[in-house]
Every structure is written in C-alpha cells, then in structure tokens.
Amino acid sequence: MTSRLPFLFLIFVLLLVGISNIYYRHVHNGVPLTPGQRIDIWQVEAEVTFTGVGKPVTVSLNLPRDRQFELIEEFTASPAYGVTISRDGGDSKAVWSKREVRGSQTLYYKASFKNALDPPSDEGPTEISEIPFQAEPYESSAKSLLAQARNKSGSQSTFIDQVVQLINSDDQNMAMLLSRYSRTNAFALLMEYAQFPIKRVRGLQLEDERRNQSLIPLIKVWVDNEWRLLNLGNVALDEEVPLLIWVEDEPSVLDVTGGEDSSLRFAISKFSTSAVREANNVARDKSWGFGLYSLPIAEQNLFRSILLLPLGALVVVFLRIMIGIRCSGTFMPVLIATSFIQTELLNGLLGFTLVVAVGLMIRSYLSHLNLLMVSRISAVVIVVIGIIIAFTIFAFRMGLTEALTITFFPMVIMAWTIERMSILWEEEGAHEVLVQGGGSLFIALIAYLLMDNYLMRHWAFNFLGVHALIMAAVLMMGQYTGYRLLELRRFKALG
C-alpha cells in the first residue's frame, strides 16, 4: 500500500483550512455562530452651520477615533464644496473648502458605527503634564483640597473618588476654585497638581432619535493602569446609553475659517441589523474577504441550497459506510431530502410514498406492454407528472393547501426510483423493495433533519470552512476498513 503520509497530510490541511477559516470568519469578520443574532448600529449626523461672508472658506471637522467603536461607513453631504477626509497618524478630519461663500451654509457629515469586535487595549499616557503654576489664592486652595482628599483615601482610585466628592461639596476652598474655573477644568487642574495623567475629551451620547445634541466635555484619568472616564459637568450622563468619544486632547472640534457664527449639532439614530449581514458587508469591502454575499441575491439563494448538499452527502457516506444501510441509487436520498425541505417533512413523506406507490401500480401495467426501456421510463415520467397534477388538484379541492408543495419533487428522479423499485420487485421480491425503499427514505429523513437544521444552514452558508471539514470526514470514512454496524448483525452466527 502506498504511504499513508500524504493522505494524512491532506486530511490535516483540510482540517487546518476548515478550522482557521471558521475562526477567521467568526473572530475577525464577526460572523456569529448562531443565526438571528442582531447588532446595534448608530448613525451619527454632524451638522455644521455657518454664515459665509464672501470669502474663501475652509471648514475642518475633527472626526472620532474611538477604539470602542468601529466605523462602518461615512459620507458627506455638501453642495458644491470640495471635500477631503483624511486619516493619517493621529489626525483624522474632514475638510470642506469653497472659493466664495455667501449666506447661511449647512454641511453634513454622516457616519455609522458599531461596537468594535475586539477593541485594542488602551494605550497608557505618554507624558505627565508639568505642574501648572497658578496665582494665589487658587494654588493654596488646590493644595489644601488635595491634602484633604489624600487624608481620606487609601489608594489612587479612592483618592480620585474623594476629589470628585469635594468638587460636589460646598467646601470653601472648592468654592474658591469654582469661582474661576468650570467644574471640569477645576478637576483637571487638581489632577495635574496631583500628577495624575489626564485627557480632556468630548463625547457624544448615542441615544436613539436625538437631535440638536452637542458634545459633552469629559475627563479621562489614568488610574490603576486604565483610563477612567469621569463626568464632572452639570449634564448627567445616562449610564445605559453608550458614549462615543469624539475628540481627545484636541483644542477644537470644528474649525471654520472665512465664515461666521459657526455651530455644530449632532443627530443620532440607532437601528439594529442582522449580525450576519453586517459581518459579510465588512468582509466584502476587504479585498481578501471571500464571501458569497458579494454575489447577486438570486445566486446567493442558489448557493444556499447547493451548499446543503455536502451535508446530505456526509449523511449518505456515514450511513452507508459506517452503518451499512442499503438504499436505491447512491444519492437519490439526498435529492429526496432536498425536496422535503421545500415540502415540509410530513407532506413530503406522504407525497413521496403516494406517488411511488401509485407509480408502481401503473408501472406494473406498463411492463405488460412490451415497451423498450427508454420509452417506458419516459412513460413513467409522464405518469408521475400526471399523478402529481391529480394529487394537487384533488388536494386543492379538498382544501389541503399544504399538499400543493408536492410539485417540488424531482419528477425524473421519481420516475427512475419507480423504475428501479419495479425491477427490484420483479427480480428480488417485495421484501427487497421494502428494505431498499425504507433505507432510502430513512437516509433521506436523516439528511433532511440535518439539512433543515437552522444552525447547519447557517454554518454551511456562512462558514465555508465547514465544507473542508466535511471533505476531511468523507475522505477519512472512505478509508475505514472496520465493520459496518449492520454487519455485526449479519455475521452474528460467526461472533
């Protein structure tokens, strides 16, 4: 026998390809393992308004780079403006420009975001800002506040909690600071004195159906090796609603040169979409994202059913090689199972049995007519069509609309089944017809149950790696030299 090494290597490669494809599709493309999962998508619309004064205008809008969110798509709407969106290095902005602008202007930037699949962990602070110098009495107020907080705290995080409490208290020193600084700035100042790395950020609350929203100033403090987000302003944050960080440590969000009275407003809407579709939209945009979703819908649906056939083939291979069930026609049961999917199981079983039974009766008459085989099978095909039409009309008259699906049976396959069974009956007797017909229906039933399973349907279409695994299983079973289960019964007299 030739070396098994290449064979085992092939199996190994198939398993590797299959598993890595599934892993990649799940983890990197975000295809969920179960169908029907939904994800939220937020559509954020930034509306920039200003008044032109007849001069050249450049509008620069900083764009969010929040690691917790993934940008799905973005576009701008702005009549007659030149637009560039640049994302290089630490800078990402949209820039509109126009030679001469007069009157009230409105520019739109729209973007859709979803939660990032695997957000990268936060980078630590690069440098600690220098201790700022403040005029008295603010400096001594700050220092005494910090001393107070330090006394009452045992760790870095409780220290920060104490500072936040102080800001909300009516302490004299605090009142002194707040007479000059906003609450956010006062907190930032205190943190700088205490040598905590901070970031001034502005965030947007992603609440559905909100208009005229503005960015909320917030502070990020580096404590216990992570950035802690603190809201010190007067606007309470809704904990339930996700927050999109729009800018970090940047002086301005919007920069308009050549215009007046500029303002920035946000509108947010949320919708949920199928996680599968969204994941495949992502995969399609990447050039190496190989997915069936790039095909037209009609072809997609075709492949949905074609990709179930490997599952059926796997069932046939398993039941024939490992169990030893006999059936008529190697893959006839798979085709029957495919029709069961269209007809529903009970209708399918009943319809199949009825058509074959009536077909066998008519075929037994045809066998007396001395026909050549080709014309006899053609006659059986026509008879099968006749039976199906008769059943359909009869069922419709009786109001059994479920029975109408009987037309999904492959007519030629049915005709061949009838022909084979009929020959089998003449040659080997009714018992063999029952064994093989029953075996075929049993295999069809198992194949149907597997092919109709919603998880299997989902995997077969969305994880093509599954087919590499099936291929490996089929090849391995092809080399199985052990006993079939039913052979243990057959050779009972020997064991």
Partner: protein, 318 residues
C-alpha cells in the same frame, strides 16, 4: 448484545467486512481496467476458451433490437436454454427455460412464458436494464446445464453452483449454493438459498446456513447437508485457479457448475464476490488471505503448484 456480534470477536475470527473487502482487497488487487474481463460475460467466455477452460455452450447472441426475432432460430427445440445479459450483475436478468411444449416455454419454476415475453426480456437486456450503469448490452443464449445427479435432492428448482474465492490464484474459500423454494430457484443467499461451506482442500461440507442461520437439512427436501462431498475436488480447484490467469484479477469469485456430461464448467467470474461465504463456512477468510499475502516467492507458481500449496497449508481437520 442487541443481537449484534462483538466487533472484537469478529476481528479475532478473521471475518472480513464490506469496507475492508472494498479497500484492502478489491481496490488493491483488482485493476479497474481488467473489470470488463469479468463484467462482460461474452468476453469472459472468449478468454476462458482461449485458456482451455470449459464453459457452458454459447448458442448465439442478440446485439440489436431489430434482430430480436432471430433468437427463435437459435433456441434448441428439445433442450432447455437460458437467456442472460452479457453485462448483468448479481444474477439479474437471467431467464431460464427448462423445456417447451404446446403451452409455451416452461421456466424453472414451472410457470410458462410466451414468445412475446422472451422478446420483451431480450429488449430489456439490449436497453441495458440489467447491466451495470445501464449501458446498452448484448443478450446471450446459452445451453442449459444438466446438473450432475450427485446434487439430486439437494436443490429445489434450480441449478446448484459452487463459488470459490481465488486470491492471487490460490483458492482460499469455497461454498456450494443450493436453491430453495424460498429463493424461487435462485442461488442467491440473501434471497433464501442455502449456502454450504466446503472445506477448501477436500470439497466436503463443513456447515450450512440459510438466512444467516445454521441449518442441518435442506428446508425443502430434508436431505442432510453435512453428507455433501464434491467429487474430483482438485479438478474444480484447478479450474478456479486458472481463472486468475484468465481474468488477471487478484481477488476473484469463480462460479462453477457441475454438468452431468461435461464435468465442471465456469459459469461466471466476479470481481466483487460477496461476504456471505464466510457465514456458510462459519469462519472468516482473512486468515487465508493474509497467509497468501505474506508469501514471498522468488517466482510465481503455476496452477498445479498453487493447488499443492493450498492442499498442504489450508487443510482443516473435520
């Protein structure tokens, strides 16, 4: 348990399963290009005659639909005959006529068929109804074998045949197949024929089964099966062994019949012989197959040397 044999027991007794037969023997020792030698019975007959192997007489063939009527010129007036597809498998499509009288042609079962039934049967054969893969086929008309009276009382309505498994030219296992009323005169074990395991070195009956159950008497005639002993066994072994050279197939099933006048004849060869022979012999055949596989010979033995080897090494004490 559950009416199943234990797989370890079967393995210990050297029982070969279907998967193992297909992968380890048929795929390995039977070159696919040689299959037509056995799948086409007309070709088998030609090859056998070249080697001087006795086969049933060929009365004629029908190859085309418009020649179907000519078959009646070939049929013997006073003798039985059988019509079979050249590429048939598993005994499918064989029509056996034992005699004819004013009622028409009498089948082995005693029922009658008419000329038009024979025409239809040949049409079916030509259209490929019985052939592997449904290819167009040729109908063969053969003289009926007059079976040896030593089997009188052992077979009901049909011709008993002897199946030998020949591996690389060495006969490794043998079985006599007796038709019963249940098998409708056919010698197929799964249809209810009795299989009698034969000692490969002596041709004496070892044990007998029907429907995979041990039996001691023929179910229709009540004759004791254990008494069966094939005479001239060595000549049957030689005949079977020669078929290795005829067909070139390493794992081969040879079906023989004993004709009253002409002695043993090769009925047909089979590239995928079944496994029921092991049940009839109450013994697995892997032991003998592996024995032959392990032989390291400097030059291939001829037929007589192979038979001597088998007689020396495969004898089983009764």
């Amino acid at each position: 348990m559950f009416g199943l044999a234990k797989s370890s027991t079967l393995r210990a007794r050297g029982v070969m399963g279907m998967n193992q037969r297909n992968i380890s023997y048929i795929a390995r020792y039977n070159d696919r290009s040689l299959y037509p030698n056995v799948d086409n019975k007309l070709r088998t007959k030609e090859l056998a005659l070249e080697e001087g192997i006795a086969v049933p007489d060929l009365l004629g063939t029908v190859s085309y639909q418009h020649d179907v009527e000519e078959v009646f010129d070939m049929l013997p007036k006073d003798q039985g005959f059988c019509i079979k597809p050249s590429k048939g498998s598993g005994g499918k499509g064989i029509l056996v006529i034992t005699s004819r009288d004013e009622n028409g042609f009498m089948k082995a079962s005693g029922s009658y068929v008419q000329e038009q039934d024979i025409v239809r049967h040949i049409s079916n054969i030509l259209a490929g109804l019985f052939s592997l893969g449904g290819d167009a086929d040729v109908a063969m008309v053969e003289a009926l074998i007059e079976f040896d009276p030593i089997f009188a009382g052992y077979s009901h309505e049909g011709v008993p045949d002897i199946r030998l498994i020949v591996f690389k030219g060495y006969p490794v296992m043998a079985m006599l197949r007796l038709a019963t009323h249940a098998s409708d005169g056919k010698a197929n074990l799964h249809q209810g024929a009795v299989g009698v395991g034969l000692d490969i070195t002596t041709g004496n009956a070892i044990s007998a089964v029907q429907y995979s159950e041990l039996v001691t008497h023929h179910p229709d005639t009540d004759k004791v099966l254990r008494d069966i002993s094939i005479e001239n066994w060595r000549s049957l072994m030689t005949l079977a062994s020669k078929c290795y050279e005829v067909s070139g197939l390493g794992y081969l099933g040879v079906d023989l019949v004993l004709d009253k006048h002409r002695g043993p004849l090769v009925l047909e060869l089979n590239a995928r012989p079944g496994l029921a022979i092991q049940i009839a012999n109450q013994k697995g055949m892997l032991e003998n197959l592996r024995h032959i596989e392990s032989l390291k010979l400097r030059r291939a033995l001829n037929v007589e040397q192979r038979i001597d080897y088998v007689l020396e090494n495969f004898a089983v004490g009764r």
